[in-house]
């Protein structure tokens, strides 16, 4: 994986740039010491590392604006960073740029229960938002597994999901307002506590833009009242196919579960070894179906789901009878990644999305790939929305294994695209899937996306080397290739 060639002139000006930054932020907000900068050299995708020129931790919007304006004027690249939990290298630094961390922008600014909103600075963690409102029975719905650590600003950058997004939506469906600093230092506000605005849905494109368009300095999210009840049904099937057809039947019956997760046998056993959640080890697939809402409705739905499961050949079926039991059912799934981490020195977590009907086909092809590459794979699957997380097990200490795992992973993602799916469901493109983008998009598709980038960041200082496999200068992208009168259209119907 290649990153853009570092700009030698910028590297040579490191001390001057640091001095200019020192004039903009308090001394404790600037990290220059090499040992301390090293803390920021990678994110959750630890295979890639780079040491930034400096790390800046602003604590006000004005400081963010001043730092960006300086960097924009001087051609210094900026990599925004939340908690650094990205699994796709979204916060991987560049050696000729700074890291702009949101760690000090960590205050909740307003809790408005009457309008059901919370306004927070970007460095507030996802879980802290729920913690701030749970006394009144509210919560913030998107719940990525890293929710203890990941920040709401990072959630905006990645459009984070979680296990409840089939019913409650992703980050993008739960954000009402943003304050954004553009690379030139301009501050714009989008949305607010109201729903719907005239004008372009810029909030919609900033969410999931992986820090390439601007730096978010304030976020207003929708909070929801906690469902009255939640119960989980644990269902084992002899095969993945039966589990898959049960999922389709549940949804075809008009049920949208709060959570609908599936695991294959290697994942079931890894989780069971780790937490002993009571999963059926002999099952070929395991479903966790959580039903939430008013008690009367949930009890009814539990019965319907159980009966659908039996019709589809379930060999194991257990309904949670208490909150403790429900949480135990989830404990295995929620610890599936560390569980795999226990049985393998390293694992590589993939994140494709596929049309659900393709699941059995994809898993079968994956088994063949697993043999070909000589690497085991366990699968956890957000079955409701088709988001697949294959965990490829390897040992980085064995020469060539990391490369094999990466090649295996790339082949899985190409397969996802081949069957009508996408490269990434929730982890982002980052650097990890950047070079696979042409598998899914044409040159014209990518050029148009980059033209959007140019509207926000014409000097392209924000998070370079991420998402797009080839960088084009904005002037080049703006050129038109149509000549007057060159394209006749004789056959077109006219009225």
């Amino acid at each position: 994986m290649d990153m853009p060639e570092p700009d030698g002139a910028i590297l040579a000006r490191q001390s001057e740039i640091v001095a200019r930054l020192r004039a903009l932020v308090p001394s404790e907000a600037l990290i220059v010491d090499e040992a301390l900068r090293r803390v920021y050299e990678c994110d959750g995708l630890t295979a890639y590392r780079a040491l930034p020129l400096a790390v800046v931790l602003p604590s006000t919007t004005a400081e963010v604006a001043a730092v960006l304006a300086l960097c924009n004027a001087e051609g210094v690249k900026v990599v925004p960073r939340g908690a650094g939990t990205s699994l796709s290298g979204g916060a991987l630094p560049v050696t000729d740029g700074i890291v702009l961390g949101t760690g000090k922008l960590n205050r909740i600014l307003e809790i408005d229960l009457e309008n059901r909103t919370v306004t927070a600075q970007p460095g507030v963690t996802n879980l802290a938002i729920t913690r701030a409102v749970e006394h009144a029975g509210f919560y913030y719905a998107p719940d990525p597994s890293s929710q203890i650590a990941c920040t709401i600003g990072g959630n905006i950058a990645e459009n984070s999901g979680g296990v409840h997004c089939l019913k409650y939506g992703l980050t993008t469906n739960n954000v009402l307002g943003l304050e954004l600093v553009l690379p030139n230092g301009e501050i714009v506000r989008l949305g607010g506590k109201h729903l719907g605005s005239d004008g372009y849905d810029l909030m919609g494109v900033i969410t999931g833009s992986e820090g390439l368009l601007g730096v978010v300095t304030e976020v207003t999210v929708r909070i929801l009242q906690k469902p009255e009840t939640a119960r989980a049904v644990l269902i084992g099937f002899p095969s993945v196919e039966q589990g898959g057809s049960c999922v389709a039947a549940i949804i075809a019956d008009g049920i949208i579960p709060g959570g609908l997760e599936m695991m294959d046998r290697p994942a079931i056993n890894a989780a069971e070894d780790f937490v002993g959640a009571g999963y059926p080890r002999e099952a070929g697939s395991l479903l966790i179906c959580e039903l939430d809402g008013p008690a009367a409705e949930v009890d009814q739905l539990v019965e319907t789901v159980a009966s659908i499961a039996r019709q589809h050949g379930a060999t194991f079926l257990k309904v949670s009878e208490s909150e403790e039991e429900r949480l135990r059912f989830w404990a295995g799934r929620k610890n599936a990644f560390p569980a795999v981490g226990r049985i393998s020195p390293d694992y590589y977590c993939m994140d494709g999305t596929i049309p659900r009907s393709q699941l059995a086909h994809v898993l079968q092809r994956m088994r063949a790939m697993s043999e070909h590459y000589g690497l085991a794979v366990a699968n956890v699957f957000h079955a409701g929305d088709g988001n697949l997380h294959p965990l490829i097990m390897y040992d980085a200490n064995r020469p060539g294994e990391l490369e094999r795992a990466e090649a295996f992973g790339a082949e899985i993602l190409k397969l996802c695209v081949e069957v009508g799916g996408v490269l990434t469901g929730e982890h982002g493109v980052g650097v990890e899937k950047r070079d696979l983008m042409p598998e899914m998009f044409t040159e014209a598709d990518l050029a148009q996306q980059q033209r959007l980038k140019c509207a926000f960041d014409p000097a392209q200082i924000l998070n370079p080397g991420k998402v797009f496999p080839r960088l084009h200068r904005c002037a080049e992208l703006g050129r038109m290739h149509i000549h007057k009168g060159a394209i006749p259209f004789p056959d077109l119907p006219r009225f």
Binding site: Y200, G204, A249, G254, E297, D385, G420, G425, A455
Partner: protein, 408 residues
Amino acid sequence: MREVFEPTSLDELEQVVRWAVAEEAPLEVIGRGSKRGLGRPVDARAELRLARMSGIDMYEPDELVMSAAAGTPLIEIEAMLAERHQELAFEPADYGVVLGGPANLQSIGGVFACNLAGPRRIKAGAARDHILGVQCVTGHGETIKAGGRVMKNVTGYDLPKLLAGSYGTLAVMSRITFKVLPAATDRATLLLSGGDMTKLLTALRRAMGSSCEVSAAAVLPERATARSAVPEVAGAGRALAALRVEGTATSVGYRLDALMRVVARPAGLEAIRLGADATRRLWREIRDVRLVDALAPLLWRVTCAPTDAAAVAARAAPLDPEILFDWSGGLVWLALGHVPADAGCGQIRAGLAPGAGHATLVRAPEELRRIVPPMHPEPVLLEGLTRRVKQGFDPKGVLNPGRLAAAI
């Protein structure tokens, strides 16, 4: 007379746009034309209609996904979904009548391009929350795609959301893939009365803050109730708050009881229940803005924080508007029977602090829509960004120029 292009294929659509780009000839881009009167008038050399690019390409009910050509009539889509007990959860509104045309005309492309959601917006989101993927022709004359057909997708920028609500000013959508959801099997409405406007609006917010999963919440002032064709509403003779719950029959009954306990009784409000059919009729009237004067010359649509609803109405009071509150108070409709020179901007739009909401002039005579911006003007820095985004998609300004704002 203006030329009208009605392409029948993507190839023809691309040719029209390329011609317009080459000639620098502005196009008025419309689906089937039902919302043509919404926004600034477009001065175009030619008209591009998508009505002949029609048809549902893909529908997979158990994957909750459908894909259709942009000109497909919405009623066709809704009929096919209904066969499988599914629907578009954002409850698309039909502004046909309000904008002086017929009902049931609009296309799926128009629904997404204008991003207009109905009463369920407060629970299920807007059109933009349900769009998954698009194929479109940009103002560079290039066909591109973005998004996909799966629910969860963060591969590249979310251009489908950008195109939703862009009123055809960035690209011409040719095919749209979107999420569909199961339709509820039962529904009912709780009608509350016996309080003033403030009390009724408070009841809406209390209901939305409960775990009763209310799917729509409106306040109908007395004048609005009189316009309803639902007898229980028309005969109320006073202002009403309406709360809708949808789901299975058991769940609906259970939640109505809960709403009585947590909302109606503590506030001392009287309550009656509307059954499934009356519920369907009432919320269609609210959705399509039929409970304010359909012939009033000016119609404003104001979005705000629900707690600001009463203040929005109070500021507009000197104009003597007919009012309807939807979205738990977060959407205020104001119909004016007369035409002030500024269309009421001073009372309605100017009172909204920056970031506190948007006021859209939905219906007004064409000459007035050239003078008073129908879309809420953006602050200067944001407008600059909007202009650069437009430039990136449509550098020659041939796609619906001026529709969103004079400079866009």
